[in-house]
Structure formats: structure tokens, C-alpha cells
């Protein structure tokens, strides 16, 4: 029943445009690119303070028919199955349109199978890295930090400006089995029970390519 999926493709800065063009040739309609930072677990890089890598994230909807061609393209032209080339994953979605405003009922939409989960954590700015460390201790392999901001809250300082609270959004793709423990660790480690500290949610992931843990099966879980 999955007729389309939203694909997240995380690649090094500067490659997303090319990717978007190729995807459009294959049949995707439009995509949106945003910037993020990857994190790699390496002790000496961490010591030197250079453990971040700059990434671009392409969010693109690909129709079900083109899905296979799309993944082949990622593998053959962008070599995503190799290490450090980037990762891709798919989340099923439904798009709103006026003609089909009915809601799916019952088993209709459950036919997809989601071996992975994408955990999204929204935190205050600057805490993304700490969150990543907590998640890594709980078995996560890698993650991407995206700088975002909350909706503006007008405040009365000297000038009436709408302060936009800056946020870090941490995106972690992991196996479904490890997801609960990572989620719990983040929840406890980042003290999300405090009001306003942040939120965490998971998206079902039907397909992945190039995940760190797939490339390093020996270290899949601590």
C-alpha cells in the first residue's frame, strides 16, 4: 500500500543539488534541502574539537514506482553503501490533497514494514551534541544535528521583537530493537521530563542505505 515515501538523504555538503537533479530525472517531483552537521565517534577528533562534519539533508518525495530506481541511483552514482558517503532512509507518508480528504481506516495503511526507526529529538540549542553522546552510550551509531528554531514568541524587550528560540534537532536512525533503549536514555539523560526541555518522537523507516551499523556489523550494538 505504500505508494510513496519521503526519503531523507544525508550527504556531504555540496552534493545535494546534484542528487536532487538526478532524482527529478527519475521521477521525483520536488525536494527540499537543508543543512545539518554529522557527528562521528572518534576520541582524538573529539579532543581536538573537530568531530563535526558538515552535511546536507535532502528531503524528497519519491513515488512508489520510482523508488527502486531511486535507490539504485543512490547506490551506483553516489555510492551510499560505502562508508562516509552518506545515508538514505525512507519514511512512508501521505500527502494532503483536497480530492482525497478521506482518512485511511483499519488495516489499510499498515501494510508496510518498518525495520528501522528514525528518532527525532528537538532540544534547546547547544544540547544536540550532549544528546548524541547519551544516545551513543545507549547503542546509537551516528546522528545528524540540524539547527532549527521554534515558532516566534513576541516579547517585550526594548524593541518588540519576536524572539525565535533556537533549537537543535537530532536525527538518529536505528534498528527498531534498539530504538526504545535509546529513546529512554535520551529521555532520562537529557531530563526531558522537565517542562520545555524538549520532545522526542519516532518515525517508522521502511528502508535504509549506508547506515553505519550496517557497515560495521561487528559493532552494531555495544
Amino acid at each position: 500500500m505504500t505508494t510513496g515515501s519521503a526519503n531523507y538523504i544525508i550527504v556531504n555538503r555540496g552534493r545535494a543539488n546534484q542528487l536532487l537533479h538526478r532524482a527529478q530525472q527519475i521521477g521525483a517531483k520536488r525536494g527540499t534541502i537543508f543543512l545539518g552537521e554529522g557527528t562521528l565517534p572518534s576520541r582524538w577528533q573529539d579532543f581536538l574539537g573537530i568531530n563535526q562534519t558538515q552535511k546536507e539533508i535532502l528531503l524528497i518525495a519519491v513515488p512508489g514506482a520510482a523508488q527502486e530506481a531511486f535507490y539504485n541511483m543512490l547506490r551506483e552514482e553516489f555510492h551510499l553503501h560505502k562508508r562516509y558517503k552518506g545515508i538514505a532512509f525512507s519514511v512512508p507518508y501521505r500527502q494532503y490533497s483536497a480530492e482525497e480528504a478521506h482518512r485511511p481506516q483499519g488495516e489499510e495503511g499498515r501494510a508496510f514494514d518498518a525495520p528501522y526507526v528514525c528518532l527525532m529529538t528537538v532540544l534547546e540549542k547547544g544540547l544536540g551534541e550532549q544528546c548524541m553522546r547519551v544516545a551513543r552510550e545507549a547503542g546509537a551509531q551516528g546522528g545528524t544535528i540540524i539547527h532549527a528554531h521554534g515558532a516566534g514568541v513576541p516579547q517585550n524587550f526594548v524593541y518588540p521583537i519576536a524572539i525565535e528560540p533556537q533549537k537543535d534537532m537530532v536525527m538518529i536512525v536505528t534498528r527498531r530493537q534498539t530504538a526504545p533503549q535509546i529513546r529512554r536514555a535520551i529521555y532520562a539523560g537529557m531530563k526531558l521530563e522537565r517542562k520545555g526541555a524538549g520532545i522526542i518522537f519516532g518515525l517508522p523507516v521502511t528502508r535504509t542505505l549506508g547506515l553505519y551499523e550496517d557497515n560495521r556489523p561487528d559493532k552494531a550494538a555495544p
Partner: protein
């Protein structure tokens, strides 16, 4: 690709053309000693290493400091405090700039002691402080930026009528000296931080321009000083030219401790001010503080290596090339000047920082390359015209500066607002340490040999030209850009509505609703969604392509988008989508999209969106209000999720709430994987049990 490697690559790409051109000239026209060539090569290596480390330091140290300062300034509740911090920041980053002190001594000497070097440094710093203060108020009060700058430049124009040509050159030069390698990245970061915290529709345009504002400060200070003290003439003697002594390594050993000391003094006041404010207000956590300190150390080391490389390797080479060309092949001077201007400016530290910041701020929509190309063409023309000025005595500095700045100010009202800020910044950014050493040495070398040239006026004028030309060239591109965007926007919005994918997904408790809208609409979208029952959203900056993108100079400009994530109750997500689509007219191609992803329902054992009470309480209630509160957010469930997350409830297996099939699946993911997944590397046969079970 690690960050350091990336920086090295970036610097190397800009440095290689410079090395190629210099070596080509060295082996053909100039033929200097082997020593000079070796020094140049060693200097290049130092420059490469130093600049890469410096850029890393800016990322880790200067940018966060700028951010924290910006938050403190913008969220202040008293005008006095804003004024005080902004002034002090401008003052402190300038007062310790080593170039400024050198210039101060030059002026002191030339004026026969009438103007003290230290007095001048304080005056110029105060000028910068004042202008940063005005610039900050301008930004926070959302006054027109082109208007502000037009006013600032009109003031300079009026003052310039009263000062001599020498003083005019010195004033512009001091503006180049204050926008040094350290100051510019910091002020850039400050501006970006201020605009980010201020937010709103113009947050992008506001991110730039503060450097441009700052560079007017020294001009005001010096011209005012000239008028008040009645000091008109400066008889400068440029130091007689000689190749530095001491073999290949001599100059290097001479400059290394000197530059280390200079960079340290330049960095200290700012660092001290940061630590002071950190102690009183920010109180950043230990890890971030450690990172900032590492960043500051990188900045210091990088800057030292960079400047040592430039001084020991590039200074002699520049003068030698200038002299040799002026002596033997003077017709080549403008051409070589053009080429130097074009490629040398790309090695300026601040130019690289600016390019990065433009990409970050616009979410990658404006590629850094388009700015760099425009900038380097502007600087190339500036250096070429300076060479012509050295060769033809009838051409005066103000023949170029006056119409150049005049045109730029006029164009600023017709140019894309984002480009206006970047253009004014570019002047200060382009006249950095590479111009001040290498290009200036080249010009002086030429002026030395050409009999009609005045080393003082013509030599110094180069920096003024370099500070002017990119402002103009970027304004022109900005004007073209605005025309193109206007024309392009007219064409859109008529496309056929796209047919949506089939709805799918059994609805559990939460949906992740994602809306992609054009830039500037996010605020409205959040409001609309709130009306339809959503809570607060999280907004990202992105860029999108709809198939027909416009091109400016063959560089593709994509539309800027904002992406908004909401976590909503499934029962209202459809309403939210409908409300957004109809109100924002998201049906047309290229205007945006709304889609919903089932969330928390699969993979996680519970419908989890814990800690959703992130916004003020009313949001949570708003989610519940449309129907009945108990229906939508069963309290028991939430509590269960909370308890479980805290590890109070019994640890659960993979998916107790899922259907049995799902649980089975999760135990044998490989076996049940869809056929498409077979290409993936085989999964390990069994998953080790999660920790703690």
C-alpha cells in the same frame, strides 16, 4: 570528511592559483634569488596550515562567542545596556588590532608627533564602537539598512571635502586596518547572531552589513581628528625597499614571535570580555566552554601561522614583482594587477568566513561561489585601476572612490536586500591581511619605480580601492538578482495542482505533520496550524527546487523554503493539513506542500511523543480542545510513557503493543525484509539483547 580536512581543501583550492601565478611570474619576468622563492614556498605552506586552523577556530570559538553576545544584547531590557555592550564590543575588537597600531605610528611620524599613535588608536576604536552601537540599534529597531548606510556615507562625503588627499587615503586605509583578520569574522558572527535571535521576515538580510557599518567608524574618527587638529598634510616616507636579511628561515623566525604576540594582544580583550560576561550572565556548560577555549587557541595559532607565512613569504615577492614589472614590462602591470586582485582576495580569511556564513544563513540558497566570483571581479578591477593610477598621474583616488561609492549607495535602494548587507560587508572583508601585505607590497614596488608616482598616496590608495570595488560589484549583482527574482516569481503559481499520493497509515496517536512553505510564511503557517489544533512547531531553513529554477550568471538560484515540523494528534492532523493547504494556497506547484507521517506508531512500542509540553501550557490544551480532551490524550497512556521512559515500569521487549506479526518481524528482520532490501549488506544473524534487560 572531517571538518579540518574540509578546511584544508577549501584553502588549498584558493591558494593554488596564487602560487601558480606568482611562480610563473617569478620564473619569467622577475627571476629573484632562490632564497626568495624558497621563502615564498615555505610561506605558502604556513599560510595553508594557518588559515585552515584559523577557520576552524572561528567556527569553534568566535562564532559561539558572537552568538552569546548577540543573545545578551538582543534580549536586554534596557537601552543603556545594549548601547554599553555594543559599544564595548566594537571598541575592544578594534583597540588591540596590531595593524592599527602600526598605522598609528606611521601617522605619528608623518605628522611630526602632532597626532599620538595611541591617541589615534583609541579614537579609531571609539569610532568603531559608536558605529557598532548605531548599527545594533538600527538592526533591532528594524530601520532601513540602505537608508542608514546612505546617511553614513553622506557624512563621510561631507567630511572628506575638508581634508587633504593624503588624509583621505589614510582614513580609508585605517578602515582597512580595522577590518582585520580577527575583527571581521567576529563582527560577522555578531551580526548573524543578532539577526537570528531577532528572527522575523528580514532575519536573513539583517545577518549582514555590520562589518560595513563598522568600517565607516575609523573614517569618521580620523577625518574628524584632521579637521579638529588642523592637521592636513602628511609627508610620508615609505620605508626604503630592501629584501629581508637572514637567509631562507630568517624572516620566518623574526616574524613568528612577533605575530604570536600581536595575535595574542588582539585576541585578549575580546576573550577577557567574553569570560567576564560568561561569569555574570551566560554561564555556558563546561563542555561548550572547553570547546570555545579550544576554538580561541586554534584562532590564535592559526592567525599566527597565517600572518607569519604572509609576512615572511609574500611581502618580498610582492615588491619584487611590482618593481620588475614596472621597470621592464609596465604595460603588463594592469593585467597582472587584475589577475592578482582576482585570485588573492579568495585567500583572505574573512572572505572564506563570509562565504560560509552566507550559505549557512540562506540555508544554502545563495551559493558562496556567486558572492566570491563577484567579489573577486570587483577586487580585480580595483587593483587594475590602481595600477593605471600609478602609471598615469592625472588620475586621482577620488576620481574612482567618489563615483564608486555614490553609485553603490544609489544602487543599494534598488538591490536585493540580502545583497545590500553582503555588499557593504564585502568592502571590509576584502581589504584583509592579504591585500594589506601582498597586494600593497606589489603596488608600492611599482610606485617605487615609476618616477611620477607618490608612494604614500598611490600605495595606500590601493586598499581604499579594494574596499570600494566589491561594494559596487555586489550591488550590481544584487540589482540584477532582484530583477530576475521579480520576473521569475511572476511566472509561478499557475501550475496544475499535483495529485497526492494515496493516503495510508493506520492512525495511532501522533502524526508528524511536515509543511514546506516559501520563505517568510513559516510564522503564518504556525499560526494557522495552531488555529486548527496543533501545538508549537519547529522550523528549519531549507531550499527547494521545483524543476524550473532561475539562473544568475549560470549559478542556479533555488527558492528558499521553510520546513515546519509539528507533532499532532492524528485526529486533527488532517484538519491542520487542510487548513494550511487552503489558507496558504499550497496546491500550486512550487508553492509548498503538506504531508503527514505516521509517527511513534511503528517501531516504538508506544505511541511516544513524550515531553510534548514544551511550549507554554496552552498548546497542549489546544491540541485537546477541538474534540474532547480525554479522547485525544489519554492521561494514563502518557503517564505510562513517562514512567517507562524513566525506567520505572518494567523493561519491555521489542514491541509488546504491536501485533504478534510485528513482534515476530522484529526478531527476524532479515527474513521478513521486503525484496528491495536484499541488496543491503546482510544483517547480523541475531541482535544482542538491549542493555538492561
Amino acid at each position: 570528511m572531517s571538518l579540518l580536512k574540509q578546511k584544508f581543501g577549501e584553502v588549498l583550492r584558493s591558494l593554488l592559483p596564487v602560487m601558480a601565478l606568482v611562480l610563473l611570474l617569478a620564473f619569467t619576468a622577475v627571476q629573484p634569488d632562490a632564497t626568495v622563492i624558497w621563502r615564498f614556498l615555505i610561506g605558502s605552506v604556513l599560510l595553508l596550515i594557518g588559515l585552515a586552523i584559523f577557520l576552524l577556530g572561528v567556527d569553534l570559538g568566535m562564532n559561539p562567542i558572537g552568538d552569546h553576545m548577540a543573545v545578551e544584547v538582543a534580549t536586554s531590557r534596557s537601552k543603556m545596556k545594549i548601547a554599553f555592550i555594543a559599544f564595548l564590543l566594537g571598541f575592544l575588537v578594534t583597540v588591540a588590532e596590531p595593524d592599527l597600531l602600526i598605522l598609528g605610528y606611521q601617522v605619528q611620524e608623518a605628522s611630526g608627533g602632532a597626532i599620538g599613535a595611541v591617541t589615534m588608536v583609541y579614537l579609531v576604536s571609539a569610532g568603531v564602537g559608536m558605529l557598532i552601537m548605531f548599527g545594533t540599534f538600527r538592526l533591532l529597531a528594524s530601520r532601513s539598512f540602505p537608508g542608514f548606510m546612505a546617511l553614513a556615507y553622506t557624512g563621510i562625503l561631507i567630511l572628506s571635502l575638508f581634508v587633504s588627499e593624503e588624509f583621505l587615503a589614510i582614513s580609508f586605509d585605517s578602515s582597512g586596518a580595522t577590518t582585520g583578520a580577527l575583527t571581521t569574522p567576529f563582527i560577522l558572527a555578531l551580526g548573524a547572531g543578532l539577526s537570528r535571535i531577532k528572527g522575523g521576515k528580514s532575519s536573513e538580510e539583517d545577518a549582514f552589513g555590520l562589518v560595513g557599518v563598522m568600517s565607516a567608524g575609523p573614517m569618521y574618527a580620523l577625518m574628524a581628528m584632521s579637521i579638529i587638529t588642523g592637521q592636513k598634510h602628511i609627508q610620508g616616507e615609505a620605508a626604503p625597499f630592501m629584501i629581508q636579511e637572514g637567509g631562507v628561515m630568517g624572516p620566518l623566525l623574526h616574524y613568528l614571535p612577533k605575530e604570536l604576540f600581536g595575535s595574542l594582544t588582539a585576541l585578549l580583550p575580546l576573550a577577557a570580555f567574553f569570560f567576564l560576561l560568561n561569569f555574570i550572565y551566560f554561564k555556558v556548560n563546561r563542555r561548550e566552554l572547553g570547546r570555545i577555549i579550544k576554538g580561541l587557541i586554534y584562532t590564535l595559532l592559526g592567525l599566527t601561522l597565517f600572518l607569519t607565512g604572509v609576512y615572511s613569504g609574500f611581502l618580498d615577492m610582492g615588491q619584487l614583482i611590482g618593481r620588475a614589472l614596472a621597470g621592464g614590462h609596465s604595460m603588463l602591470l594592469p593585467l597582472v594587477g587584475f589577475l592578482f586582485g582576482m585570485i588573492v582576495v579568495l585567500v583572505e580569511p574573512a572572505v572564506i568566513v563570509l562565504g560560509q556564513q552566507i550559505e549557512e544563513t540562506t540555508g544554502g540558497r545563495i551559493p558562496g561561489s556567486i558572492i566570491k566570483v563577484t567579489l573577486s571581479i570587483g577586487v580585480a578591477l580595483a587593483v587594475m585601476l590602481s595600477m593605471l593610477r600609478i602609471m598615469i598621474p592625472a588620475l586621482k583616488l577620488w576620481h574612482f572612490l567618489l563615483p564608486g561609492f555614490g553609485l553603490a549607495v544609489l544602487l543599494s535602494f534598488r538591490s536585493d536586500p540580502l545583497f545590500v548587507g553582503i555588499a557593504y560587508d564585502a568592502g571590509g572583508v576584502a581589504s584583509g591581511p592579504m591585500t594589506a601585505t601582498f597586494v600593497l607590497a606589489f603596488a608600492r614596488g611599482a610606485a617605487d619605480v615609476v618616477p611620477t608616482a607618490n608612494v604614500m598616496v598611490d600605495g595606500f590608495g590601493v586598499i581604499a580601492m579594494v574596499a570600494m570595488a566589491p561594494v559596487l560589484s555586489l550591488m550590481i549583482v544584487g540589482a540584477v538578482f532582484r530583477r530576475k527574482t521579480r520576473a521569475h516569481e511572476g511566472k509561478e503559481g499557475l501550475a496544475v495542482p499535483q495529485k497526492a499520493a494515496l493516503p495510508q497509515g493506520e492512525i495511532e496517536f501522533y502524526d508528524c505533520v511536515v509543511a514546506i512553505v516559501n520563505r517568510g510564511l513559516a510564522g503564518r503557517a504556525v499560526e494557522l496550524a495552531r488555529e486548527a489544533g496543533a501545538g508549537g512547531g519547529t522550523i528549519l531553513h531549507g531550499r527547494g527546487a521545483s524543476g524550473h529554477d532561475m539562473k544568475v550568471f549560470n549559478v542556479e538560484i533555488q527558492k528558499e523554503k521553510e520546513i515546519i515540523f509539528w507533532l499532532t494528534d492524528t485526529r486533527v492532523s488532517q484538519d491542520i493539513a487542510q487548513h494550511l493547504t487552503t489558507q496558504l494556497e499550497l496546491d500550486g506547484e512550487g508553492s509548498g506542500a503538506v504531508f503527514m507521517m505516521p509517527c511513534g506508531a511503528f517501531g516504538l512500542s508506544h505511541p511516544v511523543a513524550i515531553g510534548l509540553s514544551e511550549e507554554p501550557e496552552d498548546n497542549l490544551l489546544q491540541i485537546a480542545e477541538p474534540t474532547t480532551a480525554e479522547d485525544l490524550l489519554p492521561g494514563s497512556l502518557e503517564q505510562e510513557a513517562l514512567a517507562e521512559a524513566e525506567g520505572l515500569a518494567e523493561p519491555e521487549e521489542a514491541a509488546p503493543e504491536d501485533s504478534p506479526e510485528a513482534a515476530a518481524e522484529s526478531l527476524e528482520p532479515a527474513a521478513e525484509a521486503p525484496p528491495s532490501a536484499t541488496e543491503e549488506p546482510p544483517e547480523p544473524p541475531e541482535t544482542p539483547p538491549p542493555a538492561g534487560e
